[in-house]
């Protein structure tokens, strides 16, 4: 049995729509229209909503109006708090990025353009719920008023670093703020969120978990394993993909994101998949509320893709103009989450340029104060936690090896 001859095979290597020097293009994406996507009851079975992963849930329209069934109808007060959390994140990022240039820290990572995600989710979810973060959801902590000075202490690895100088900047841990320990390994905590949520269900508790991976990280086996466990045990967890189009220099096509949506991956696990405008504070809130309702009602997990764009470089070690058009960020069709929320507040008559400037000034001052306070404790290398702490927390109790090594250092 032979098969008819065919042209020979060739290997396909994906390419982004534009490289440096070329005109950025997002023509390959369908952004839909604000308000257009239906909002099924969260109690409906997954089989009844397999269309959702291919639509983009948006609430804020071009005029800054909140429209459609996903409008969470938030009070102006909540919106203003959200705006503040996002601004805090943006201004802190800028300041600390500069601090890196000044040698005050070894490393920094911005979440510019993605601030709506952590902020809305942090505010929407309960104090006892647990977030399993990536390095790009600083706004979670900002929305819960985690002290700026503590962030800076960690980033400076100084004597007051709450995690005792043990980790790279941005790798926060803040249990009391519902923020699980971060680390550099991509994807490894996605499954922890599922386990944590299963534990909550096991204990007949009412707390739920939320976890994030980037678009690039969806390719790790951990992603699949976490989703499988979440599906099999109907874990009360919200699993999020922050699709910001880039993984360092690799465009989203290297995670299969040029062929379908990340929300569509939910279908493989019989989980609902929502695709949400990640630069729309209201849409993020609404989708999270829907998924949380589902989780709290013992209906299990939801996968949410936040469609967004990484405006800054990957980190202080990166120069994005090397691999994408210089003006690609500003051409991102879904805009800037801060501008959009500000414009919405203005559109509903709750905000104006003056009040906005006052907020910016206030937040700038808060960042300045917090960072200054941390600088007084010390920037990288100027101060650090007591050296003896280096030998602590390795085990609950140190064994002889650790004791001997500590002694060798005269501690």
């Amino acid at each position: 049995m032979t098969v008819p001859n065919r042209p020979t095979l060739s290997l396909h290597i994906p390419e982004p729509s534009a490289r440096p020097g070329e005109a950025p293009s997002f023509a390959q994406f369908d952004f839909g229209t604000a308000g257009a996507v239906r909002r099924p009851d969260s109690a409906e079975p997954e089989t009844a909503m397999r269309d959702l992963p291919y639509e983009l849930i948006r609430v804020l329209d071009e005029d800054g109006k909140a429209v459609g069934p996903w409008n969470p109808r938030l009070s102006p007060d909540v919106l203003k708090r959200g705006l503040r959390a996002m601004l805090l994140t943006r201004i802190f990022d800028d300041r600390l990025f500069r601090a890196h240039r000044q040698g005050k820290t070894s490393f920094y990572m911005k979440s510019t353009g993605e601030e709506a995600i952590g902020a809305a989710q942090s505010m929407m979810l309960g104090a006892g719920d647990m977030c399993f973060p990536t390095y790009r959801v600083l706004s979670w902590l900002m929305a819960r008023d985690y002290p700026v000075v503590q962030l800076a202490n960690q980033i400076f690895s100084n004597a007051d670093d709450p995690i005792k100088g043990r980790q790279l900047p941005m790798m926060f841990s803040a249990r009391d703020y519902g923020f699980y320990s971060l680390s550099g390994n991509l994807g490894t905590r996605f499954g922890h969120a599922v386990g944590w949520a299963m534990a909550s269900a096991y204990k007949h508790d009412d707390k739920i978990a939320i976890a994030y991976v980037g678009d690039g990280t969806t390719a790790e086996g951990d992603f699949h394993e976490a989703l499988t466990f979440a599906s099999v045990y109907q874990a009360p967890v919200i699993l999020c993909v922050t699709n910001n189009q880039w993984a360092i220099s690799s465009f989203v096509g290297f995670a299969g994101g040029d062929k379908t949506t990340f929300a569509a991956k939910a279908t493989a696990y019989a989980l609902p998949g929502l695709r949400v405008d990640g630069n729309d504070f209201l849409a993020v809130w609404a989708a999270t509320e829907w998924a949380a309702e589902r989780a709290r009602s013992n209906r299990g997990a939801t996968l949410i893709e936040f469609f967004t764009y990484r405006v800054a470089g990957h980190s202080t070690s990166d120069d994005p103009t090397k691999y994408r058009p210089l003006d690609e960020p500003e051409k991102w069709p879904l805009g800037d989450p801060i501008v959009r929320l500000r414009d919405h507040l203005i559109a509903i008559g709750e905000w104006d340029a003056e009040r906005h400037q006052a907020l910016v000034d206030d937040v700038t001052q808060a960042v300045k104060d917090g960072v200054k306070q941390a600088e007084a404790v010390g920037t990288l290398g100027q101060s650090k936690p007591d050296i003896a702490t280096m030998f602590e927390d390795i085990f609950a109790e140190p064994d002889w090896r650790i004791c001997e090594e500590r002694k060798t250092m005269g501690l």
Partner: protein, 338 residues
Amino acid sequence: MTAMNLIQALNSALDVMLEHDPNVLIFGEDVGYFGGVFRVTDKLQEKYGATRCFDTPISEGGIIATAIGMGAYGLRPVAEIQFADYILPAYDQLVSEAARLRYRSGGEFSAPITVRSPYGGGIFGGQTHSQSPEAIFAHVTGLKTVIPSNPYDAKGLLIAAIECDDPVIFLEPKRIYNGPFDGRPDTQVKTWAGHPQADVPEGHYTVPLGKAAIAREGDEVTVLAYGTMVHVALAGIADSGVDAELIDLRSIVPLDIDTIVASVKKTGRCVIFHEASRFGGFGAELSALVQERCFDHLQSPIDRVAGWDMPYPHAFEWDYFPGPRRLAEALKRAMEYN
């Protein structure tokens, strides 16, 4: 006291812990309704319900990730990896996450998990049901690694592991599940019946992690072993005619360095005996430590008797496996050295 084989002793430890502590739960491939491919979790689902002892997807990484998340929540999960050969897909979770969670979070979170896994060769399991990967765990600070050699220890160590606040890798030498094994495949299969350490209390007790046992007192050479090899060593020592002191390490992290050093200082000679491949095996660390701490007492080179440096070969199981003869030869070499 009840006569138990190693499987029953482990089952009893799990039973006791499920009974005593509502935060203990058990999961792994086939451990639920069926009770585990080696029956270690037999009847536990029936007794405690499906949420206390349940099956998992075939995903070792997922199993350990789930356990870590549960540990961070405050539970004490006991995860089974069906064979230690299949623990490698979870190696990243164990090393990058479980072992470091407490340290890197400044003590905010920890992973008090126990990972049980049948381990070692001697059952004609071929390349993928025979391996002894303890060295790759011992090198990772933050993990404890326990390897029992008899029913009494197995139960007490497993309870101690579950109660331990650190992640523990608990490797169960499957060749001795049903009876001690002297390393001679052609002799009659023994059961645990009548063995002094098969007399196991039914209730709660612990054997502390980090305390070795002297399995045989002797004056001429110190033999360091753990798991199945403790029994093989007894046979090898008997064959050799050398009056060796045999130390059963019980846990390799934490390691009972004091007991080891005291013995070698007494005997002046040391042979290390394990089943894993020699190169880069845990025997290397033992050799280095003994040499560093007993240099002036050594009358002959520390020797290592171990598996050959190759994948575990099915048909050549007994050519690969370091049996009593190879140990006896090493003991005699040590005594004849000058």
